[in-house]
Symmetry: C2
Subunit: 385 residues, 2 copies
């Protein structure tokens, strides 16, 4: 089978960017990825951009054409992919497949979101576009509300504790405190989380990833094109799966079936089992979701995720280092950019470019990007030769 | 090279569907395509859906997961593609590439848009998301305003007349009057167009495609899978290209470079020239755009498009029958569905299923789907063996 490599990676600082537009952020990320790959835009055959809701955030659709403009890629084809918070992992998969299809040789894959332009609760309402409009958002549900229901179910079924969830945030902030591109590069304590404002019982402010502006981009290349360049990181496996849009329609609220199915496919394609994964970036939009991810990716038995966190196994020096650069919680969560940002960070870890956060002796990394309350899950596994 | 076939096609009535939701429309279209292909949803490996702006039209993003829900396709992967009014031709291309990549064998490709739920000028403002938010919509421009500028430039440069533009609408309504799925199945006269309300000089109401609700869907299959089924229609060639998002940034206002580039690629891949195309569905969002399309697809010399129409060459009994089932003008233009609807109609023409509108002796057909004022163009060419 043909292979696809990552030959360039870049990320803007994730932040509240009052002086940068969506276009600025996507252009900056793309330019960083091109510079990193040491190629020019002329060598790029197509662009894939993930974005969730620029139509509502900033009044802009047609994101592919927007991103092409300043990137100097016209008249090449541009595609925007959307699956809520999993939009850019989806863009990554489409770019990957377009290379395997023989249609393209070198592809830019990015994600960008500008969320802070909406006032008041505008961003919260916009994010509910990821849920079921007819059955969830129309009755006033919010995403933290949906994940609070998942947290309650997990606590009831497995005895997962409030403190264990807090430890997810503590771990990710500890890592993120050393990440110069993170929105909140500060350490927090379990007590900080437990004393933070209650948002949707049992979830508190410091269980929640923030609202963020940012962009991230990658350059993908066919095996042939990658061979001419330095340090390719290989796509070892990729999987995507879906579940019902509305939470209440799911078979189970204590697991994400889409994650399991996507992971199974990615593991099979990579020829790896969960035990063999060196590091993972998982989708900690809310702390409980990292606990579900740990279980559903097979890093521990279903129900043991809380204990796994409590035992320090997700720490950088633990058994299965997770969100080694800060996760969505500390780095920030510009929804359409997160999936590619996760892959950028794994790429940098595999190349040994993570400075104080550098993990030693790793050969592969897994990224899990989740859309909505679990209706979409994308798993990508990267590695070095 | 491997080939991809269309083995199923379906379309809802295009209309103001007050009693059907976006979900209803996408489900109905998907069910029609499945029934047409005589397969069950279990045989489908993935779903690609084109949609421009459901976030703003109905408060729903995460369209892939939404469409999976009722289609019974979970846990398979779902992707929403967006490029304004070219969204579903883009979804078609991504589904096509996913089969060529070897990732999928049978794919559902659809498009849906529910536009009539917004009150007042809401739909007009939402559609401007396809333009440049920073430089066009923010100063109050509208799409009919942008196309009026294109029309003025074309009239000045080539002497294209008001009457010639009207004849585009007359032709398309004549065809659409016999299409049971059209929103406005009625004939109109040149006089009707010239006397209709002025919207943006020189364009009048009857130069403009309407605001519409609707869905359309296709089933694509690999050559191997298609061989087991009846009547496959083959994808002979496909091309996509981009231009600047904003109209004022273009090198030319009298042609669409993206259309030319996309068409060149599709012709080359199909091994055909423009002379060899039997019928075409082109993007008549505004009458002037059909004239540009006729020229940019190479059906006549640049500047002669108005005369080409006046001479009756686009009629069903003309030299190059265009929009033989009614075009966007008469059938309606649910923006995210139009690209797939065009391909559905060419499929039906090639199969001989078009009833009173059936074209005789045709072997191929071309579909041109345009996003925004020309920032995205997608050309697909279909044919029989």
């Amino acid at each position: 089978m043909k292979r696809v490599a990552i030959i360039g990676a870049g990320q803007t600082k994730f932040d509240e960017h009052w002086e940068k537009s969506l276009r600025d952020l996507s252009t900056e990320a793309g330019a960083l990825a091109l510079a990193d790959a040491k190629i020019t835009s002329k060598q790029v055959d197509a662009l894939y951009i993930g974005n969730m809701s620029a139509g509502r955030f900033v009044g802009q659709e047609h994101l592919g054409a927007m991103a092409m403009d300043n990137a100097g890629l016209n008249p090449k084809p541009a595609v925007r992919c959307e699956a809520a918070c999993a939009s850019s992992a989806l863009a990554f998969r489409q770019g990957y497949m377009s290379i395997l299809s023989g249609e393209h040789d070198i592809v830019m894959v990015g994600g960008a979101e500008k969320m802070t332009d909406l006032k008041g609760t505008g961003a919260i309402a916009t994010l509910m576009g990821a849920g079921d409009q007819e059955w969830e958002s129309s009755i006033g549900n919010t995403f933290v509300g949906l994940y609070a229901l998942i947290a309650r179910a997990h606590m009831k079924e497995f005895g997962t504790t409030r403190e264990q969830m807090a430890m997810v945030s503590v771990n990710n902030h500890k890592n993120g405190s050393l990440n110069p591109l993170a929105q909140f590069p500060c350490e927090i304590t379990v007590e900080d989380v437990l004393n933070s404002t209650l948002i949707a019982d049992p979830l508190r402010l410091l269980d929640c990833s923030p609202i963020t502006d940012g962009g991230a981009a990658l350059i993908l290349a066919s095996e042939e094109a990658a061979k001419k360049l330095d340090n390719p990181i290989w796509v070892l496996g990729t999987g995507q799966a879906s579940d019902t849009l509305a939470l209440h329609d799911r078979k189970s609220h204590i697991e994400m079936i889409a994650t399991k199915v996507a992971a199974k496919k990615a593991y099979e394609q990579a020829g790896l089992t969960s035990e063999k994964i060196d590091i993972a970036e998982v989708h900690d939009c809310f702390s409980i979701n990292e606990i579900l991810a740990i279980e559903d990716l097979g890093f521990c038995k279903k129900g043991d995720g809380g204990k796994f966190v409590e035992q320090g196994k997700i720490a950088r020096d633990g058994e299965k280092p997770i969100n080694t650069t800060g996760g969505l919680k500390s780095i920030g969560h510009p929804v359409g950019a997160t999936g590619v940002r996760q892959i950028v960070d794994i790429t940098k870890q595999l190349r040994g470019q993570c400075g104080k956060l550098q993990m030693k002796g790793i050969k592969n990394g897994l990224a899990l990007n989740v859309g909505g309350s679990g209706a979409t899950a994308v798993v990508n596994i990267l590695g070095v030769d």
